[in-house]
């Protein structure tokens, strides 16, 4: 079974530039997550999709971050404009389902390491 795919693996940009990350979840997984992992910290959830609907984006800085999951499969996360403090690893994860009263294991992609200069 193929795992969660992410691209690019590394990205270096200057502050105020834009960047986009792509994620392809495990086939059949309805739930997709984007996490931000800053060096020395655990992953922090940015946004959770159930199929193509947003379940939780309460921790997404909406003034500069956006995400979409068209057709309920692939997803893109965009930062526009980037700030120095956005330097982090952005992890995508998927699971077969999630909701109140249920939990299914999350499978993580390799991540995209973003450096903002």
């Amino acid at each position: 079974e193929a795992g969660v795919a992410q691209s690019p693996r590394y990205k270096i940009i200057e502050k105020r530039q834009s960047v986009a990350f792509w994620c392809n979840p495990i086939s059949g997984h309805a739930t997709l997550y984007w996490y931000q992992q800053i060096l020395g910290q655990g992953p922090k959830l940015l946004i959770q999709f159930q199929n193509n609907g947003v379940v939780d984006d309460s921790q997404l800085p909406k003034d500069r971050f956006s995400a979409e999951r068209l057709k309920g499969v692939d997803s893109t996360l965009k930062i526009q404009p980037a700030k120095l403090e956005d330097s982090a690893v952005y992890l995508c994860a998927s699971s077969s389902g999630a909701g109140q009263g249920t939990y299914n294991e999350q499978f993580f992609g390799p991540g995209t390491r973003l450096t903002v200069l």
Binding site: G40, G42, A93, G101
Partner: protein, 114 residues
């Protein structure tokens, strides 16, 4: 609010010695508890989980963890550490009927010394 604490920054252990990575949690109700491992330039890999049942949970690569409700702890253990166990370990908690978010600890760097 649910939170996970991993009190140590780095755990150093000699190869062949027992390895323990500590985790405590703060949630109201019964949490689901997880351990993940992260190797350099790789995503998080699932090691084991506690949902219900036996307090001692066995997982991948010879790791196990013990759920202790009275101490709100879920320490990760391995009887005999290998150099290849050197990695970053994350404890995480999920609370049913809470905010439906997996809360991660800050992680512990484990260094196994040959």
């Amino acid at each position: 609010a649910q939170s996970v604490a991993q009190p140590e920054d780095q755990v150093n252990v000699a190869e062949g010695n027992p390895l323990t990575v500590k985790c405590t949690y703060s949630v109201s109700g019964n949490p689901y508890l997880f351990w993940y491992v992260q190797y350099p330039n790789r995503g998080l890999q699932f090691l084991l989980k506690y949902i219900t049942g036996d307090n001692l949970v066995k997982g991948s690569y010879g790791f196990e963890a013990e759920f202790n409700k009275s101490q709100t702890s879920f320490h990760l253990k391995k009887p005999s550490a290998l150099v290849s166990d050197s990695a970053l370990y994350f404890c995480a908690a999920f609370f049913l009927y809470g905010n439906n978010r997996l809360a991660f600890g800050k992680g512990n760097q484990v260094v196994v010394i040959p």
